[in-house]
Symmetry: C5
Subunit: 87 residues, 5 copies
Amino acid sequence: MLMCKVTGKVVSTIKNESLVGMSLITVRALSFDAKGNEVVGKEVYVAADPFGCGVGHCVLVTQGGNARFAIGDGKAPVDMAVVGIID
Amino acid sequence: MLMCKVTGKVVSTIKNESLVGMSLITVRALSFDAKGNEVVGKEVYVAADPFGCGVGHCVLVTQGGNARFAIGDGKAPVDMAVVGIID
Amino acid sequence: MLMCKVTGKVVSTIKNESLVGMSLITVRALSFDAKGNEVVGKEVYVAADPFGCGVGHCVLVTQGGNARFAIGDGKAPVDMAVVGIID
Amino acid sequence: MLMCKVTGKVVSTIKNESLVGMSLITVRALSFDAKGNEVVGKEVYVAADPFGCGVGHCVLVTQGGNARFAIGDGKAPVDMAVVGIID
Amino acid sequence: MLMCKVTGKVVSTIKNESLVGMSLITVRALSFDAKGNEVVGKEVYVAADPFGCGVGHCVLVTQGGNARFAIGDGKAPVDMAVVGIID
């Protein structure tokens, strides 16, 4: 999994029907430099969010087919989902 | 998932039979710099497109085995598909 | 999927039995610079090729478990396969 | 798989129910420079840890759907798990 | 798949029971520069090896869930396996 910072929301009117009603957020991977400061990755990912996270939250994100188990829909075309909020 | 910019179409006459009739588009991942300007990734990906997107559209793309659910063909050799158009 | 340039063939006498008789080619991902010139990626991948492609061909390659559907063998240990020749 | 160095633990109170009671650790990939010195990767990953590893341990980590087999839960939304401690 | 150079072995006493008795080797991806010289990648991967490869061998490695088919154990938590020795 990745530790990620929530950076925004994605709004999509025209989408796959299994995504209707699902919160989609943009996240960036978190790492730490030699001094322990947070470093936010350049890539922007979009994850399904069953927790209702807000911008700035630090979350745990799973990738790949496992993401379907996180959202309780075994056939949703989702490859990334939030599985926890990091304290 | 990735936010991507549609950059073109792929034309392939000789292809796997399960791809016949399926629109295939080239996309590049989108991110944002510190000022919030769009940055388009260098890598070019090819995604199946059930929405009929045009060049310049900003789309949501899923990767991996989940892509098969997006196109409604559980045995298509497709690892990337558009699942929504971003508003 | 990736657009790739075929760069060679792989010869392997000692291999998994499900790969016997299967053509294996080396490919590199294609992208384009700001002027539209082809840029060939540094990484070399090996893909199963059911089409009999030659060096220099531009092909469409799928990655991951989906590759097994491309070669019609649901249990072959193959993670990359050609699914089309780009015109 | 990846050889990884354990760098810390992840604490998450609000999480997917299948992660309750599972140890989650942060790891970084290990490689070696030309002189054989350890090089620790910049990316931080989070892995499920059924072994109770401590910070500084060198572990073997599997990625993707296979991780579910490592933790004995076929439907956990986990994409990375420790499968061994390297001597 | 990746062409890889075998660089060593991994010894792990405490490990997942399905890895007991399985040879685990470290490998690095191979590519070629403009003059055709071998370039060895920086990342170190660990692959299951059913062939008994030695250091310096050039091997073909599959990634992801497909690796389980290469070792004949459909539930082993293995995401990388040698599927052939390159001539």
